[in-house]
Symmetry: C2
Subunit: 179 residues, 2 copies
């Protein structure tokens, strides 16, 4: 950030009065430009004993597998955003969604929110941001070709919960990178 989005003058990093963090502050109109974490919403679409994954057609992690997810938009709910992303990336429709994981990712300034979601029909196809979309049995999940650590965590939780026949919502913090 170099310029004030309100008046176009230059901004600089400084601690506003009464604050204790450096913010971008406009040198002309004094507007403080706060920067906050973004929310990523997505689903873990399930049909029978299989889960739906998308292979990314975009960077970062082009060619790697992921769950349908993306940035929450203005004026939508978490669930509406998760369904929208599932449609955009996998042309899949889900129902009976259950909040499954809320993950703080401080290194990326993001919070990821995933729902377990049922697909009533095995209908799907790649959206613009996917090379391919496919259903995977749990023993066939491409662990070495997953795009992101939060996705790996959600899938790992799902496999564990599936084995014991009980699915538990979880909140956690995810740090580090994919190996």
């Amino acid at each position: 950030m170099k310029y004030c989005s309100g008046c176009g003058a230059s901004v600089s990093l400084q601690v506003p009065e009464g604050d204790d963090r450096r913010r971008y502050v406009c040198g002309s109109c004094q507007m403080v430009h706060y920067q906050n974490p973004k929310i990523v919403v997505g689903t873990l679409p399930v049909i029978g004993d299989r889960v739906l994954l998308c292979r990314r057609a975009i960077e970062p992690r082009h060619g790697y597998w992921t769950l349908p997810a993306g940035f929450m938009e203005s004026r939508e709910t978490l669930l509406a955003g998760a369904r929208r992303e599932t449609w955009e990336e996998a042309r899949a429709v889900t129902c009976c969604e259950q909040l499954y994981a809320v993950m703080s990712i401080p290194d990326a300034d993001q919070v990821h929110v995933f729902y377990r979601a049922q697909m009533e029909l095995p209908d799907f196809s790649p959206g613009l941001e996917s090379l391919e979309v496919d259903l995977f049995a749990l023993q066939s999940i491409p662990w070495q070709k997953l795009a992101f650590l939060p996705v790996k965590r959600v899938l790992t939780s799902f496999v564990e919960d599936h084995a014991r026949g009980k699915f538990l919502f979880r909140e956690e913090t995810v740090t580090g990178e994919m190996e």
Copy 2:
């Protein structure tokens, strides 16, 4: 938003190629300026059978009671943010936090995340943004003087859960205004 924060030229609302929503796009460098919901994090601090509320020293809703909460900052986790806000607004320290409510508030472009939190000691005092801070028995919660609907929802849930002796995490959408 009137000017590009990257180059200072004028922005205009248009649908970028491959997108389906209007965004602020720079007429010079073509940077797309996305706007996304913000996260508000807070606690419901509990000691014995009493809860801690703060009376707001700032607008909006100056003079009304609220739970300690505020915008999540960069590079922190949800829980770290909730603890920070509790300290900033009520000079209270909590422990044993349990995620209690995740609320989509589409009209405000926000997601609110509240933890049930234990106070080990009845130590608290007003921070800069509070006129006063006090403990309330559940039958004494100032329902008519609460600042925000999400706070009312969290407190209502807590009173209900307390009555049946079982606290359940809940996800919901909150719309409308305080009466």
